[in-house]
């Protein structure tokens, strides 16, 4: 739980937009609506994301005190995904195909039959496995309009962005040299210099 313990590796995002007056009640309602719902082996969804308690990925029943730390909103972005090992799936498919053909008294299966059988075998295997789970802490400083997301990987950040926008109806702007310069504020002459900026060459070709 990087937000609460250990060294910190994170990406910063700035919240674009204003908080509604009744944001505490509204956000709690919306967070609960998008709290993580564990995957069921019999449903079609292979992956799902949702909110859970910071540092406690199995705590999905979220109360006000779990989320609001004074002027911070703390959550963890959890993603569950079914990962059936390829060799296991192939071995079970071979067994299932042989049993199916023997039962039907045939030598070949159609493509559609194979697809349906694969779906059945996958579901059966999923009942014996637990989905792979990843939870990334998130801390939103309401005072600074700043979200610290405790991962620098692009894929979870993109998925978190999507859920954040759905939950809070606010956009996130990633930290970068450009966005930080804009946020710090440039003078008119500096803005014009920024538009024409070219990389500085100290060596190599063109220096």
């Amino acid at each position: 739980m990087p937000a609460l313990k250990g060294s910190l590796t994170y990406a910063r995002f700035f919240v674009d937009g204003d908080l509604p007056d009744d944001f505490r009640e509204r956000f709690m309602k919306s967070i609960r609506l998008r709290a993580m719902k564990p995957l069921d082996p019999d449903e079609d969804a292979l992956e799902r994301s949702g909110w859970c308690r910071v540092g406690e990925p199995f705590e999905t029943d979220l109360g006000y005190e779990d989320v609001f730390y004074n002027e911070f909103v703390n959550l963890a972005f959890r993603t569950d995904r079914w990962v059936v090992p390829g060799p296991l799936l192939r071995a079970r498919m071979r067994e299932a195909e042989a049993a199916y053909l023997a039962k039907k008294g045939r030598e070949r299966m159609s493509k559609r039959e194979k697809t349906e059988l694969k779906e059945l075998v996958s579901k059966k295997l999923r009942r014996q496995l637990a989905p792979a789970m990843r939870a990334v802490d998130l801390s939103w400083s309401l005072k600074d309009g700043l979200v610290r997301f405790f991962s620098q990987a692009a894929a979870p950040a993109a998925a978190m962005n999507e859920l954040f926008q759905k939950t809070f109806s606010l956009k996130l702007v990633p930290e970068a040299p450009y966005t930080l310069a804009a946020r710090l504020g440039l003078k008119k002459a500096e803005e014009s210099a920024w538009q024409d900026l070219e990389p500085t060459l100290l060596g190599g070709e063109g220096a």
């Binding site: 313990k5 910190l8 994170y10 710090l184 440039l186």
Partner: protein, 218 residues
């Protein structure tokens, strides 16, 4: 132009910022300053990674990676720093992090341990003995204990965020100072010639003259 294009087109500014921090920390012997924070210690340590679009990546590890000949050689080949380990010493507190230049992101940020035991827990064998479990604890006791643990966890979190904000504010203040140089006449007139002299194995930078010139022209 879309926001994503604006971000991508100016990622190199982050690398130039890291280069400038490295340069100034070296010529000012590890002491930098900003208007808001006063003087503080800042230097490159543990690791530095330099790269360019056209050549292979140079990774240097060690106590003073930025002081190595290889690091300057990489700059002469047209590479710029991509990431670097940074040590920060401010108000008698020590922090360390890796700055990812193109995203201005911090990773592996080690904060000063202000709250006793907040950063590192003692191994189980060294931990003080726990009180023996009571066979039946009252509901009230449990609730009180849960509340105490939650308060401790919250306090530790606030302290960590406060310290994180301190580190970020120094990086931001340095970035603002860098931008005022980078986007003004001092960059071409003072900073780039000094950078070239610093990179040149036979060159020399007069730190006092550089400081005076950069202040004059800012």
């Amino acid at each position: 132009m879309q926001l994503v294009d604006r971000i991508e087109k100016r990622r190199f500014v982050g690398r130039e910022f890291l280069l400038w921090v490295w340069f100034e920390s070296e010529i000012f012997e590890g002491t930098l300053s900003t208007k808001e924070h006063g003087s503080f210690g800042m230097w490159i340590e543990q690791q530095i990674v330099l790269s360019s679009a056209k050549s292979e990546v140079t990774r240097i590890r060690g106590a003073h990676p930025a002081g190595s000949r290889e690091a300057k050689e990489a700059l002469r080949l047209g590479k710029l720093p991509e990431t670097a380990g940074v040590h920060l010493s401010w108000r008698e507190a020590e922090s360390a992090f890796v700055l990812r230049a193109e995203r201005l992101a911090l990773s592996g940020l080690k904060l000063p341990a202000v709250l006793a035991g907040a950063e590192d827990e003692a191994p189980a064998a060294l931990a003080p003995p726990r009180p023996p479990p009571r066979a039946k604890r009252g509901r009230e006791d449990r609730a009180r204990e849960d509340e105490r643990l939650r308060d401790e966890s919250h306090e530790s979190f606030y302290e960590r965020m406060h310290l994180t904000r301190d580190v970020e504010s120094i990086v931001e203040a340095l970035y603002r100072d860098f931008l005022s140089l980078r986007l003004g006449p001092s960059w071409g007139g003072v900073v780039v010639p000094a950078l070239r002299a610093w990179v040149d194995p036979d060159g020399e930078v007069d730190a006092d003259a550089y400081r005076a010139a950069r202040s004059r022209r800012r």
